[in-house]
């Protein structure tokens, strides 16, 4: 093999988007004559220092800014380079490329706050019996582009899984796909929700997932600190620890505590030293209480919590956030008979409890106005292409107002991403919002999702996708 040190600028247009359904389902591609994508050129190399950044003016749009309950009507948005510099009415900018939004709705790019991009294999967490880490990375690249960016999800927060190198590739502009924040490998005690070894493993032999740092088996405070440092060293932006049990995992009943009080506190302590925060996987009052006491900030799942816990969380304003996985709990685990046939009776009962509890928790969280974000937890070829159904689930199945459902995946998400502070891979501007000094991650919709949330599932109504000021889809 010849090695050279030549660096040439190159052009890589991609003229086609392909959607895939795997495992024997017919592959489903773009039809004859319909090219949706005009991918702008990506030139690789240093931009001349005195080159004026490109300005783009999107006119004639109704803006959902990521926070407000209503659209700002008849508005213009001015973008310079990769960020928004002005939002207002009747803007003008000499030399800007003008895009007439035609009365469409403009929203921030969507943010999925609970992804697992390195688990994109048909067997989910069992995947590393079939896939090596090169293939897992390749699958993740496909997800970040096809399931996320090209559907309007311009940022993901990966919780669990060694996506550190992949996040770096995105951040350095090597890969076309959604921005990625990552916790790196999750910390789990033996037998916790991050222990994906086999029951026949001998003590202390590492399974493949542990070897490639998909998870770290922690025992006690020191190992938590070591695992966290390892994660931060290699590019994690925050960390995650398993505080409670899981539905589909083998070793941990739903009701148990996983990490001890001391272990959770250690995670928070070392994360604070690095200026960032900890996210927790937990379902019930006890594990939530332990984590609230310890200073954890991001609370995933929580489907069995009761009102006193919710009230406590509400009092903490934006010190903490509840991260809701609507689709996977309410829709998938709604009904005993809808459970997978391979679930045991116990697992089905657990699933039903989660489904029922999720509706209950969701109602309480809204009632008490807890600070909220949403993340789909949807992966594998069966669910990955449907990630936005997590957003519509919030309105359709638990009755959240559409604006609130969208806020959880835009403005609020953008706030939480900044909790990574100095570890933030995108520190310069804001995410999830339409205002000056926000990144130009922008979507244009044919219709108003605040009136009909299901609009966001219709790719033909998503007319324009911009991420970091680059256009990835334009069917205006």
């Amino acid at each position: 093999m010849l090695q050279t040190n030549i660096h040439l600028s190159y052009i890589q247009p991609i003229c086609q988007v392909v959607r895939y359904q795997y495992q024997g389902l017919e592959m489903n591609k773009l039809r004859n004559g319909a090219i949706l994508i005009a991918l702008s050129l990506i030139s690789f190399g240093v931009m001349a220092a005195d080159e004026k950044p490109q300005q783009t003016l999107i006119t004639n749009v109704n803006v959902f800014d990521g926070f407000a309950d209503q659209l700002a009507m008849n508005t213009d948005v001015l973008i310079e380079g990769n960020h928004i510099i002005e939002v207002g009415q009747n803007l003008s900018a000499e030399g800007a490329t003008v895009i007439d939004g035609g009365g469409r709705t403009l929203t921030p790019g969507l943010i999925d706050m609970h992804t697992h991009v390195t688990f994109e294999t048909p067997a989910g967490t069992e995947g590393f019996n079939q896939y090596d880490f090169g293939a897992a990375g390749a699958m993740a690249a496909q997800v970040l582009r096809d399931n996320m960016l090209m559907k309007g999800i311009t940022t993901g927060r990966d919780l669990v899984g060694n996506s550190r190198g992949i996040a770096k590739l995105i951040q350095q502009g090597h890969l076309i796909g959604a921005r990625l924040y990552t916790s790196g490998g999750v910390m789990s005690p033996t037998g916790g929700h991050g222990d994906w070894g086999s029951p026949t493993d001998t003590v202390r032999n590492l399974d493949y997932g542990a070897m490639v740092e998909q998870s770290y088996i922690i025992e006690g405070r020191d190992s938590v600190i070591a695992a966290s440092r390892r994660n931060f060293r290699n590019g994690a932006h925050f960390t995650k620890i398993m505080a409670g049990g899981g539905v589909s995992s083998l070793y941990d009943p739903l009701e148990i505590y996983a990490a001890t009080q001391e272990e959770v506190e250690a995670a928070v302590e070392i994360a604070n030293d690095y200026g960032t925060y900890v996210a927790i996987h937990a379902y019930h009052d006890g594990s939530y209480k332990r984590s609230l006491d310890a200073g954890v900030r991001s609370f995933e799942h929580g489907f069995l919590v009761t009102e006193p816990t919710v009230k406590r969380m509400a009092k903490m304003d934006q010190d903490i956030v509840w991260s809701f996985q609507c689709f996977m709990s309410v829709a998938t685990f709604g009904d005993y008979d809808a459970m997978p046939d391979f679930f045991t009776h116990e697992q089905k009962v657990k699933g039903v409890a989660v489904g029922k509890g999720a509706r209950n928790a969701a109602a309480l969280m809204l009632k008490h106005d807890v600070f909220m974000i949403g993340g789909s937890d949807m992966f594998t070829p069966a669910f990955g292409p449907r990630m936005k159904e997590d957003i519509t689930c919030r309105t359709n199945m638990v009755g959240y107002p559409a604006a609130h459902a969208l806020k959880m995946s835009t403005g609020n998400a953008g706030i939480v991403l900044k909790w990574s502070n100095v570890l933030d891979p995108y520190p310069t501007y804001d995410l999830g919002t339409i205002r000056p000094n926000a990144y130009a991650d922008i979507l244009l919709w044919d219709g108003n999702p605040l009136e009909n949330i299901d609009l966001i599932l219709d790719e033909s109504k998503l007319s324009f996708i911009m991420k970091d000021g680059e256009v990835y889809k334009n069917t205006l």
């Binding site: 090695q3 895939y20 004859n32 990375g137 190198g165 594998t380 070829p381 069966a382």
Partner: protein, 454 residues
């Protein structure tokens, strides 16, 4: 009785019942009319033809209109059957690049220092998409741990060209695939740990390395016998594997029904490969006529990548990081390549082509390698080097061939439907292949359409 036996295996089963897809579907039919066909073999186009693709195979090729005899009552709602009017364009087989390194997209140093194996796999997807857009529906990776990617492309979970992966190339210490650092043990480096290279000493370890690769799903084996221009440990003139090591690899590969290709530049190293039973040479830029005649006699094949030698080393003194020794070697290779290619053409040695342009920024030059080869070969022969001649050797992977159900690189009944519809006639003007953004109107792989700008 429940369908629990069918649904019992994965979460996917749940999804299937949720989505509502249960039964197998009729394969899709695509009829392409009104085209001139280059079949991957002959010297001329077949004018005014029609081709019917059913599922992932070419079902029929005919100068007569093909009546689609699908029973009318089986209407498929999603993925309708298509008729494509080729409007007099050229239909040809999808291209095959026989020499790439998918897992090293940003160069050895960056892949060692900056990116883990997940990132290497993710980066490879960018390379694979570009290959597909340029019309390369199959690539052969001759060094790097793309075994998992190859497996998942074949299973349909990853989108991209077919991959024939050698896994990590086999090299001796101080050979061309010894990618450890000066301060590391050659057995201990990053690339050894993630399977991008296999370092062996002696025939026993050589055979073991082949077995590990076969176990991992490699379709063929690559060995590093000779030196390199820019590499740190192996001078250009060196031969870095012994005959018994090479023989062990060749025999072990043959035991599995497949073959081995050797990276070799010089008479010495190429002849040693031939002595050891090897019949596939990559590069060979410095060999003499005598060795070339021997290759012909033994039915050996030369894998061609002139662009990498002639263009990349056009002015070696201008290359970043090249010292005086590298520059001397670069010039030697550039001049030797021209000579070697003339002689290969003259003696009609078996050839196929793989551009060896795998680094970001260079991949896009891959079709330029095809254009450059017309300096030594007629257009049809150049195109065969990237279609039927390449496919002939891919088939020598025997039962390690992941795509054994039909032929590749040809338009024939029963061949895989990897097809390009091109504006213009590459047999007359091959430069249109370098203008792929405009000239490639349709790209089909395995009966699926990846690009259609008709």
């Amino acid at each position: 009785m429940k369908l629990s036996t069918l649904l019992s295996v994965t979460v996917l089963a749940l999804a299937l019942s949720v989505i509502g897809v249960a039964q197998a579907e009729e394969p899709r039919r695509i009829l392409i009319t009104n085209i001139n066909v280059w079949d991957g073999v002959s010297d001329q186009l077949m004018p005014n033809m029609n081709v019917l693709v059913v599922g992932n195979k070419i079902e029929r090729i005919s100068a007569e209109p093909i009546e689609d005899l699908r029973p009318q009552q089986l209407m498929v709602k999603e993925n309708p059957d298509l008729t494509i009017d080729g409007a007099g364009r050229t239909l040809m087989p999808g291209l095959i690049d026989m020499h790439t390194h998918l897992m090293f997209r940003y160069g050895v140093t960056a892949m060692r220092n900056d990116f883990d194996a997940q990132a290497a796999g993710a980066a490879a997807m960018e390379s694979l998409q570009l290959y597909m857009q340029m019309g390369y529906t199959t690539v052969r990776d001759v060094g790097g741990n793309s075994l998992g990617l190859a497996r998942n492309i074949a299973a349909g979970r990853l989108a991209g060209p077919r991959i024939y992966s050698s896994g990590g190339a086999i090299s001796a210490i101080s050979g061309h695939n010894d990618l450890a650092m000066f301060t590391e043990s050659p057995h201990d480096g990053v690339f050894t740990r993630r399977g991008d290279t296999n370092i062996i000493t002696g025939p026993i370890e050589a055979r073991e390395a082949v077995r590990v690769l076969m176990r991992g799903g490699a379709s063929q084996i690559k060995i590093m016998v000779g030196g390199g221009v820019a590499s740190n440990f192996d001078p250009l003139e060196a031969t870095t594997m012994s005959e018994d090591e090479i023989r062990a690899v060749v025999e072990a590969a043959a035991d599995f029904g497949t073959y081995a290709c050797a990276h070799a530049y010089t008479d010495d190293s190429v002849n040693r490969v031939l002595d050891a039973g090897g019949r596939c040479i990559e590069h060979g830029f410095l060999i003499s006529e005598k060795t070339i005649k021997r290759m012909k006699k033994l039915d050996a094949v030369m894998s061609l990548q002139p662009y990498a030698a002639v263009e990349v080393f056009k002015d070696p003194e201008k290359l970043a990081g090249f010292n005086a020794e590298n520059i001397r070697k670069g010039r030697q290779v550039r001049d030797g390549a021209d000579n070697m290619l003339s002689l290969i053409a003259k003696h009609k040695v078996d050839t196929f082509a793989g551009a060896d342009l795998w680094q970001e920024g260079l991949i896009i030059k891959t079709p330029d390698d095809m254009v450059l080869r017309t300096r030594w070969f007629p257009n049809a022969e150049v195109l065969r080097q990237n279609t039927s001649s390449a496919a002939k050797w891919l088939a020598k992977s025997g039962t390690k061939n992941p795509y054994r159900e039909g032929a590749l690189g040809v338009i024939q009944q029963g061949a895989y439907a990897d097809l390009l519809l091109v504006e213009g006639n590459p047999l007359e003007d091959i430069s249109i292949m370098a203008d792929w953004q405009n000239s490639l109107k349709l790209i089909m792989k395995d009966g699926e359409i990846f690009k259609n700008t008709l």
